[in-house]
């Protein structure tokens, strides 16, 4: 047994369960040295949960355990948990685990007189002492009620058993089947247990979800909600909703959007790393294209990326993107990109979340893309979808993964956003909308940023075109009535170029006129100069004649 650590604040002694997420909602585990009841209907995972508690106790906390099974023989149990990768035989050989199958055959047994369950006590005590076990599971003790007649004795003995387990100081799990009016068939166990956990298996709209709830926990605070949990090849994992805190680290790194013009619309030059981005829009507004651009860009930078496609198969996506000049295949080959396609209705929401979680654990991506997130809504109710998305986003934030979701909205009406938008919009950091702009017999695509937390951004609706070379954001064309798109843009351009030409012509005409004037002026100047020169010449001739005359007169 571990000793209690004395600290200024009292900590209720607890035994960690080793079940993913359960320790969080129980605030540390099951009550140490006390019995815990796990009850629920058939196929809820009672046995699995208790088995996982024992095995994890051995492998993770080195606490040997005893499994007393009233239903399944030891061999069956061994086989059942083998699929979870646990080798009971080895644990047994290592003296870490004792599995005792208690078989009570009603047909063989008769009762004559008073008896007690000392046999059970002694067997259990022996098993506990032989390996110094601190964890005990009794699965399912009420089988005794089926095997034995004297209910009064059984009830008294069961009560004694719980007290005895407490004095033994073992942390015990007792499983029980769900009763009609009470939590258990006998309506007894829940009162003598210190902690009661109810497992539930519900089908809502053809999708089944397992849920777990802590009904009581003496001496400790605990999460009170119903928490969905999953059983997969690694056992049980509980996905707590509210226990996650908003204290993840943030990055100021900026990642490029992959669309050249779009980067410029963000003053920071792209998205923050680890942020989540919503691209919403009606059908055919190139949401997927924007998403693929981003995926492509991330892969180019050797960032591992997972693309969850809920509408297209990987091959189809690759082919479609090739038509606009994006080669996703090479990234897939290189191993930087994974495309996972599945129908949303394949699983319940929780299983989707778990798949995401596992892939994230395995692949360690820095970017994920979910296309489209709105398809998941078909699987669950509004509340469920929202809670799932909250958890998804929390999880992604905790891993500092940049996430891009696309969302299809049914109306172009901005005032009545769709469920997905409504659920996600307050959670996402950046929200880009692509939309149709319809008018004068044509449809144009526009893109604008609704919000970008922590980053200045353009307020303009930018028109973009998709050609075989990809997305191209066009420059803003301002007309008298605002931004112009499509034909209006072309007309405006045309008008502008005509007036440009006109102006040019006018200018060159003016130029020529000036030139002509200059030429006339120059000609005049030349004529005057000639006149002046001839006058000068005349004068000099006159002067010369005069000199000659003077000379002659002197000689005479």
């Amino acid at each position: 047994m571990q000793k209690k650590t004395k600290s200024h604040s009292f900590l209720f002694p607890k035994t960690p369960t080793g079940v993913d997420g359960l320790d969080e909602i129980t605030d540390g585990g099951f009550p140490k040295g006390r019995p815990t009841l796990i009850c629920g209907g058939a196929g809820c995972g009672k046995t699995l949960l208790s088995m996982q508690f024992l095995i994890k106790g051995i492998t993770d906390y080195n606490e040997p355990g005893v499994f007393m099974s009233f239903e399944e023989p030891s061999d069956d149990l061994t086989l059942n948990v083998k699929s979870l990768g646990f080798d009971l035989e080895k644990l047994k050989a290592d003296k870490k685990l004792v599995v005792d199958h208690v078989r009570v055959e009603r047909s063989e047994i008769e009762e004559a007189g008073e008896y007690d369950l000392d046999g059970l006590f002694i067997r259990l005590g022996y098993a506990i002492d032989s390996i110094k076990a601190t964890r005990v599971v009794l699965d399912t003790i009420e089988s005794l009620f089926a095997g034995l007649d004297n209910q009064a004795i059984l009830r008294a003995e069961l009560r004694r058993l719980f007290h005895w387990l407490k004095t033994k100081g073992v942390t015990a799990i007792i499983t029980g089947e769900r009763g009609e009016a009470t939590l258990t068939r006998q309506g007894l166990e829940e009162y003598v247990s210190d902690c009661v956990i109810v497992l539930d298996h519900r089908v809502i709209e053809q999708v089944s979800t397992r849920r777990l709830r802590i009904v009581k926990y003496r001496g400790s605070t605990h999460g009170t909600n119903e928490y969905p949990f999953l059983i997969d090849e690694e056992g049980i994992s509980v996905l707590p909703i509210t226990s996650l805190k908003l204290d993840n680290e943030v990055s100021s790194d900026v990642v490029s959007t992959g669309v050249p013009g779009l980067n410029d619309m963000f003053h920071g030059g792209g998205f923050f790393r680890g942020s989540n981005i919503l691209v919403s829009g009606t059908a055919g507004t190139a949401k997927t294209t924007v998403a693929c651009y981003f995926a492509n860009e991330q892969c180019e930078k050797n960032e591992k990326t997972i693309y969850f496609a809920f509408e297209e198969s990987p091959q189809q996506l690759v082919r479609n993107m090739r038509s606009i000049g994006i080669d996703l295949q090479k990234h897939i080959k290189k191993g930087t990109l994974q495309i996972h396609s599945s129908r949303p209705s394949l699983n319940g929401l929780e299983l989707h979340l778990l798949t995401l979680r596992k892939l994230i654990k395995e692949f360690q991506p820095t970017t994920i893309i979910i296309d489209p997130i709105s398809n998941l809504i078909t699987v669950g109710s509004e509340h469920e979808v929202r809670s799932m998305l909250v958890r998804l986003i929390d999880m992604l934030k905790a891993h500092n993964i940049t996430a891009l979701f696309t969302s299809l909205n049914k109306q172009t009406d901005n005032f009545r956003p769709d469920l997905a938008e409504e659920s996600v919009s307050s959670l996402v950091d950046t929200w880009i909308t692509v939309r149709d702009m319809e008018g004068i017999g044509e449809r144009n695509r526009g893109i604008f940023i609704i919000k970008a937390r922590g980053m200045g951004h353009s307020n303009q609706v930018r028109e973009f075109v998709i050609t075989s070379k990809g997305i191209e954001l066009l420059d803003v064309e301002l007309g008298p009535n605002g931004i112009l798109t499509g034909t209006a843009r072309q007309t405006q351009k045309f008008k502008k170029s005509i007036s440009d030409i006109k102006l040019q012509n006018e200018i060159s005409r003016k130029d020529r006129e000036i030139e002509r004037k200059r030429k006339v002026l120059e000609a005049n100047i030349e004529a005057l100069r000639n006149e002046f020169e001839s006058a000068q010449e005349e004068l000099s001739t006159l002067k010369a004649t005069e000199e000659l005359q003077e000379k002659f007169s002197k000689k005479k």
Binding site: V102, E108, A112, G113, E114, Y115, G119, R123, L148
Partner: protein, 99 residues
């Protein structure tokens, strides 16, 4: 043990009685069984009393849950009786013995 040939018409009875320490019920069971056997089977029986508080492994082997437990090994069919055997008539009926 030689169980086929004996003077009486009944085959030899073989019992195992599981008790735990010095509990009152265990004492009653031993007492009651002795009485029944002495009266109806005289010497034609064999009784093994197992104290599972000392011999725990026997409890596991024989799937003992309740104490006291009487197991009739012979003659077939094998029967298990729980309790201190105070209901004599019921015990006799189960063991197929008549007054």
């Amino acid at each position: 043990m030689d169980n086929s040939a004996d003077g009486t018409s009944t085959t030899k009875h073989k019992f195992m009685l599981f008790v735990s320490g010095m509990s009152v019920k265990s004492g009653h069971a031993i007492e009651n069984l002795r009485k029944i056997c002495d009266k109806h089977l005289r010497d034609n029986y064999e009784l093994e009393i197992v104290d599972i508080s000392r011999d725990t492994e026997q409890a596991v082997i024989h799937q003992i849950v309740a104490i006291p437990t009487l197991i009739k090994i012979q003659p077939a069919p094998r029967r298990i009786i729980l309790g201190d055997l105070s209901d004599k008539e019921k015990v006799l009926r189960i063991l197929n013995l008549s007054e």
